[in-house]
């Protein structure tokens, strides 16, 4: 029996439904009108209208990161697609599964510089995991199915499907998702067993082990976080997490030594430097983590679990590479450890923890809240304490507030922390919070923001109002691009070139104009009440927290320095000038 032909746009929607899509973030335009018509004619998929396409991708990222599902975006041709580029790059850097449908001019006009035409597949090729230009309506369904498979399999990432208008208007056949996509693209999931055995042996013999885990654990699913916890307990090793990995291991546990890297804790970075066996789980030895490469953990044997073979030996040569899904490999490691019952050198481990406790005793994250000027660390700490006991998701923008959030807001569960790590996209947090709230309507979603970053995607306040999303924007307002100012202070003699935020809006009035509540705290004594009120208000809130303008993020590994050359506070900085090589680094 011949199947009834469907219009291309209906085929796309049908394929999205089959992939389990219930929400998409988008913005209409000429080239995608048939798709919007198809959306109008159904109820299974809810469309969230953003105010700029960049916001749609970040919202989908927040949605994906907090649910483990693929985030879906729909934008028009030309400027719709180019506005999505930053978000796509962000998703690529942080391995977030996204499918982005872009409109395109009809096939016969492609290459003619038509109105709202751009070479979308050309522009997005380096900033997506893969992309497609569909030229035949009968390929549509299969391409959509394959795109979802590619986006979520292996190392997740963004996938673009470019849809010429004539293709989505033509009649064609629907094709159900089969096994074709998996046959075409099937990254290795199971790790090499002999390498896993060797990893267990090395860890079992370690006198000074450390487990360093990242966003790959989150991407592998909650089970991977649980297995990571099991392995940390079995080995008795300290565990440190990257910015992207926060929540993969409970921050409240005593074996957690804090985040590592440029603004990581003293104990985490020194333990990385001095360890004898390092197990890297789903992280990629990024430059924010390693500091100066030739001085990175010089005496250790390194084991690296990653699903992406290109992450192995990219920056740091490792002794035992294991290509595979973190969850699968950790399950094998836990099983092999239990079977082998390695005889550990308990005395050495005790000594190692004694050393770690000494580093901990430096209390690198200590701060003093004196007087009425609000310290940003205090503001985050109070936000953390006052949001305990409820389901809370935190997103951030990029800069000092992001680092303070990572340092002072403790995450015990995966998928509750959404931040732009790799690309460092200011303006990520507000739309991401919108996406998180769409996925978790009853949860508390807070965007910890800076006043500069917030303004980069402030237009999404309008979408937040439209969908009555009770998102809280918690602005640490120091009237500076704080991290830029900090680097200018450390590297450029305090010449604060263009980093002062002149003519800021009145955030309370701004909130009100977007149908949200606006709150403000300028004194430490007002902070708790503002936070409590912000949480209590059943609707969107912008809380403008005026913080100490001169505060810097510490501890800090200055650029070009090694893990054991950390600056612990403002008084530390005179010790060593930053090297010329360091100045060049970002």
């Amino acid at each position: 029996m011949a199947k009834k032909k469907m219009q291309g746009a209906e085929i796309v929607i049908e394929a999205l439904k089959e992939q389990g899509v219930t929400e998409i973030f988008g913005y209409p335009g000429g080239a995608v009108l048939p798709l919007y018509d198809a959306i109008f004619n159904q109820n299974a998929i809810r469309h969230i209208l953003v105010r700029q396409e960049g916001g749609a991708v970040h919202a989908a990222e927040g949605y994906a990161r907090s649910t483990g599902k693929v985030g879906v975006v729909l934008v028009t041709s030309g400027p719709g697609a180019t506005n999505a580029v930053t978000g796509l790059t962000d998703a690529l850097m942080d391995s977030i599964p996204i499918v982005c449908l872009t409109g395109q001019v009809p096939t016969h006009l492609i290459g003619n510089d038509a109105f709202q035409e751009c070479d979308t597949t050309g522009i997005t090729r380096p900033c997506t995991k893969h992309n497609y230009l569909v030229k035949d309506v009968n390929d549509l369904a299969a391409v959509v199915h394959e795109a979802f498979h590619v986006a979520r399999s292996g190392r997740p990432g963004p996938v673009v499907i470019d849809l010429p208008k004539d293709v989505v208007m033509a009649l064609g056949n629907y094709q159900e998702a089969g096994t074709a996509a998996a046959e075409k693209y099937s990254p290795r999931v199971k790790g090499d067993q002999s390498a896993i055995t060797e990893a267990v042996r090395l860890l079992g013999q370690a006198k000074k082990p450390i487990i360093y885990a990242g966003g790959g654990v989150i991407n592998s699913g909650p089970k991977a976080s649980k297995l990571l916890g099991d392995l940390v307990k079995l080995t008795g090793a300290p565990c440190t997490l990257t910015l992207m990995g926060l929540g993969a291991y409970p921050a409240s546990d005593k074996q957690f030594v804090g985040m590592l890297g440029m603004h990581g804790t003293y104990e985490a970075n020194l333990a990385m430097h001095d360890c004898d066996v390092m197990l890297c789980v789903g992280a990629r030895f990024d430059d924010r983590i390693t500091g100066r490469l030739d001085a990175f953990s010089p005496g250790s044997k390194k084991i690296h679990i990653d699903i992406d073979p290109s992450s192995i030996n990219k920056n740091v040569p490792v002794d035992v590479p294991i290509v595979g899904d973190v969850g699968s490999v950790l399950a094998d490691m836990v099983r092999k450890w239990k079977a082998a019952k390695p005889k550990q050198d308990k005395a050495a481990l005790k000594k190692w923890w004694g050393q770690i406790d000494q580093w901990r005793a430096r209390k690198c994250l200590a701060f003093e809240q004196k007087g009425e000027i609000i310290k940003p660390q205090h503001a985050i700490r109070r936000l953390f304490e006052l949001t305990q006991g409820r389901e809370t998701f935190i997103t951030t923008e990029v800069g000092q507030h992001q680092m303070w959030a990572a340092q002072y807001y403790n995450f015990d569960k995966p998928n509750h922390w959404m931040t732009s790590g790799g690309l460092g996209t200011m303006g990520y947090g507000l739309p991401a919070a919108m996406g998180v709230q769409i996925a978790h309507p009853d949860a508390l979603v807070v965007d910890i923001a800076g006043e500069a970053s917030t303004l980069m995607n402030i237009q999404e306040m309008s979408s937040i109002a439209q969908y009555r999303l009770p998102v809280k924007i918690f602005i640490l307002n120091n009237e500076y691009m704080g991290m830029v100012r900090q680097w200018q202070e450390l590297l450029h003699g305090g010449r604060y070139s263009e980093s002062y935020m002149e003519s800021l809006p009145d955030f309370v009035k701004l909130a009100e104009s977007f149908h949200a509540a606006g709150l403000r705290a300028t004194k430490a004594s007002e902070l708790d009440d503002v936070i409590k009120e912000m949480i209590a208000i059943d609707g969107p809130v912008i809380a403008d927290i005026a913080i100490d303008k001169a505060e810097n993020c510490f501890p800090m590994i200055p650029s070009g320095a090694a893990h054991n050359e950390m600056l612990l506070g403002p008084n530390d900085k005179a010790n060593k000038p930053i090297s010329e090589e360091g100045m060049v680094l970002v």
């Binding site: 597949t121 050309g122 090729r125 380096p126 995991k129 893969h130 992309n131 230009l133 590619v150 292996g154 190392r155 075409k184 693209y185 990254p187 044997k301 390194k302 992406d308 073979p309 290109s310 192995i312 030996n313 990219k314 040569p317 490792v318 002794d319």
Partner: protein, 171 residues
């Protein structure tokens, strides 16, 4: 782990890809975007029924860079196989060049003589020019071109390398 070698070597890499639009752009974009070298790149469909093309890339880099190049190529969705012919064992590498030499008299005779020693064929001739076709390893073609230089060399067209492993096993 011991310090990795910093020695830069030349590698010939064979890549089997789906013959689809944009696949070459993906490969080239990968090399330019990540700052890898391309000494030569050859591409053509090799299996029409399966829709496969073979790209032969000659590149240079330290062992760590070469490993990265292969891993990065391997994770492109339309890439089926990446083989490092240089590492995997003996292989045959050939390049074809067409070389135009313009000249008269003794120079013209000399160019023919050299072509003969190199087993290059004259595939076109006019009363003051030859087009030679020469096949061989890149170094042989380099040597031939150098010898033609004083004899009226005016134009060269080279294909880049095609390569295949020796013995009975495919890549």
């Amino acid at each position: 782990m011991s310090e990795p070698s910093k020695e830069v070597n030349r590698h010939t890499i064979a890549v089997l890809v789906d013959n689809e639009p944009g696949v070459l752009a993906r490969v080239i974009g990968l090399f330019s975007g990540r700052g890898y070298n391309i000494e030569s790149l050859t591409v053509a469909e090799t299996d029409h029924a399966a829709g496969l093309s073979r790209i032969t890339i000659v590149t240079t880099g330290t062992p760590m860079i070469i490993e990265q190049i292969k891993a990065q190529l391997g994770r492109l969705v339309p890439v089926h196989k990446v083989a490092d012919l240089t590492l995997d064992g003996p292989y045959v590498e050939r390049e074809l060049a067409l070389v135009k030499v313009v000249g008269k008299g003794e120079k013209r005779v000399e160019s023919l003589r050299i072509a003969d020693t190199f087993r290059a064929r004259a595939v076109d001739s006019s009363n003051n020019s030859f087009v030679f076709e020469i096949v061989g390893a890149a170094s042989k073609i380099d040597a031939f071109i150098e010898l033609m230089q004083p004899l009226g060399l005016t134009e060269v067209s080279r294909t880049g390398a095609a390569a295949i492993s020796r013995g009975n096993k495919p890549i």
